[in-house]
């Protein structure tokens, strides 16, 4: 049966990515309104157990196992995805907006000449159209865009945009064969590299004082360190600082760094880009200091201070010592 929603699952080292379960939740919700099946395509080698686990969420799992799919590569997974789209003709293709997801989805749309909308917070059908809610310009503007097409529409959904799908009955696993032309696989998987940990592990800290671009100069880091020390905490950072090598990569909080859940998180001069917030939003108490009153960090913080961190921290240190 054509139509419905097709989701491409993501897994690494024997585990389904949490964002895949969120995409399933979004797919189930959309299909409950528009009708049509919810199918999840799972690629890999010897991943039957993962397929069974996914089927426990009430979806049909299209399982394609092939040695060429043992590890993700853009070419092999791209070919497999194309093969599944051609055989199922879904109305909507959902992929989580992860490093792997936004590698796969745009290339699939380009290869098959399909419409594409990415990094969506929400999706809904409106008659013939699909309406996507997105965030622009450092989370400061929300946009609704619409796409209409007779072809399957490819959409990526931002991790954290929905709660993970819970268990549901009625799921099945269907083994599927996909065509992979080895002569057209130009990317070859070599290895997974892990960060070398020779630093403190901020993921275990109770108190984290993190610095962002608002500290302006590397020379201002000692101020952050002094403040962290006064609170008995450690120093973390937003991505731009570790990119500039002001602090080691191990200190980076966010989607591409560490996810932390301290008792206290002080965000100093951090605007609150989605990539950072994903790594610290579950802290028990978040205090944000930023000069920009419209900075999105104030949406997730419990306590906010519009101030120059370079002035506020010395004044606060003085207060704490008095």
């Amino acid at each position: 049966m054509a139509g419905g929603v097709l989701i491409f699952a993501e897994h690494l080292e024997g585990r389904i990515a949490p964002s895949t379960l969120e995409a399933i939740a979004i797919g189930r919700e959309l299909a409950s309104r528009s009708g049509g099946p919810v199918r999840v395509a799972l690629f890999g080698e010897k991943v039957r157990a993962l397929a069974d686990a996914l089927a426990g969420h009430g979806v049909e799992v299209l399982l394609a196992e092939d040695p060429a799919l043992a590890e993700y590569t853009p070419d092999a997974y791209g070919q497999a995805a194309q093969s599944i789209v051609e055989s199922t003709r879904p109305r909507l293709i959902l992929v989580a907006h992860t490093s792997q997801g936004y590698d796969l989805a745009p290339a699939l749309a380009g290869t098959m000449d399909l419409p594409l909308v990415t990094n969506c917070l929400a999706l809904r059908f409106d008659g013939e159209r699909i309406v996507a809610t997105r965030r622009l310009l450092n989370e400061k503007v929300q946009a609704e865009v619409e796409i209409a097409s007779s072809r399957p529409i490819v959409a990526t959904v931002r991790p954290g945009a929905a709660k993970a799908a819970g268990p549901a009955p009625g799921g099945i696993v269907t083994s599927t064969t996909v065509r992979i032309d080895g002569s057209k696989v130009r990317t070859r998987f070599l290895s997974i590299e892990r960060p070398q940990v020779q630093d403190i592990d901020i993921a275990g800290a109770d108190i984290i004082v993190s610095a962002g671009r608002g500290i302006q100069k590397k020379e201002n880091l000692p101020l952050i360190e002094e403040f962290a020390k006064a609170l008995g905490g450690v120093v973390g950072a937003s991505r731009p600082l570790t990119d500039m090598d002001w602090l080691p990569k191990t200190r980076q909080v966010g989607q591409s760094g560490k996810t932390v859940r301290p008792k206290l998180y002080v965000a100093c001069g951090i605007s609150g880009a989605m990539q950072h917030v994903a790594g610290m939003k579950d802290a028990s108490l978040i205090i944000a200091i930023n000069t920009d009153p419209s900075a999105p960090i104030f949406e997730v913080a419990h306590v906010g201070i519009v101030a120059d961190v370079l002035k506020l921290l010395p004044a606060t240190l003085k207060e704490l010592k008095s």
């Binding site: 853009p74 749309a109 594409l116 929300q142 946009a143 130009r186 998987f189």
Partner: protein
Amino acid sequence: MPLNIVVCLKQIPNPDLQFQIAPDGKDIKREALNYKLNGADEYALEEAVRLKEKSAGRVIALTAGPKRTEQMLREALAKGADEVTRIAFDEPAAYDVGKVARLLAAAIRTLPHDLVLTGVQSDDLVNSATGGLIAGILGLAHASVVTRVESKAGGLEVACELEGGLQRIYSMALPAVLTIQFGANTPRYAPLPAIMKAARQPIKEISPAALGLASWDAVSLPYTFGVRGLSPPAAKGHAEMITGTVEEQAKKLAQLLREKGFARR
């Protein structure tokens, strides 16, 4: 092997600014914005120039945008691009990434390209889609969120960043499209003589006719796209704000930290 490299650049409104919605609700107000080279594209440009320097190759910087993007292209020349080309696509906002990617792909077809680089995302529209679309449209190998590129035996070895700090390493064949991640290198500053020289260098312009189109509206798309409306995001929640002078704020913050048991004394 000398590499012919095309690096796709985008000029964006500085995302650190505050934005207002235009009266028709379809765009932001653009009268008073200042524009800059997109953050990730700075790294893509630097990576392109480094790979060119190692291989005695050539870098063409390419953009699709209005006249104001010439300033960014001159910056690219000053930082080491050999040639710059502007697709004279004047739509100021260009919300449909599929359309822009199709224009870029059509232009890249007319240029020598062993390697196409883009930034991993633009900080205004945050699609992370342009590079992948171009790869798909042109049928090129590709890799995304690249933090490291090395030339190896006629191909490349690349490191791609995953969530949680992991990297996936591939070897891949050329020609290829790579989207470059923030922090992949340290972008250079343009030396003054290069800035002076760039001011005099020509900027190639591509019209719709050069891509076989009657107008920019004639781009063939498998869909219709529209912006329904922009709005300020509904705040999920908002922090309780500590106001006053810096001294007053500091006093209240210190008090709060003591109350919650975080201050050591």
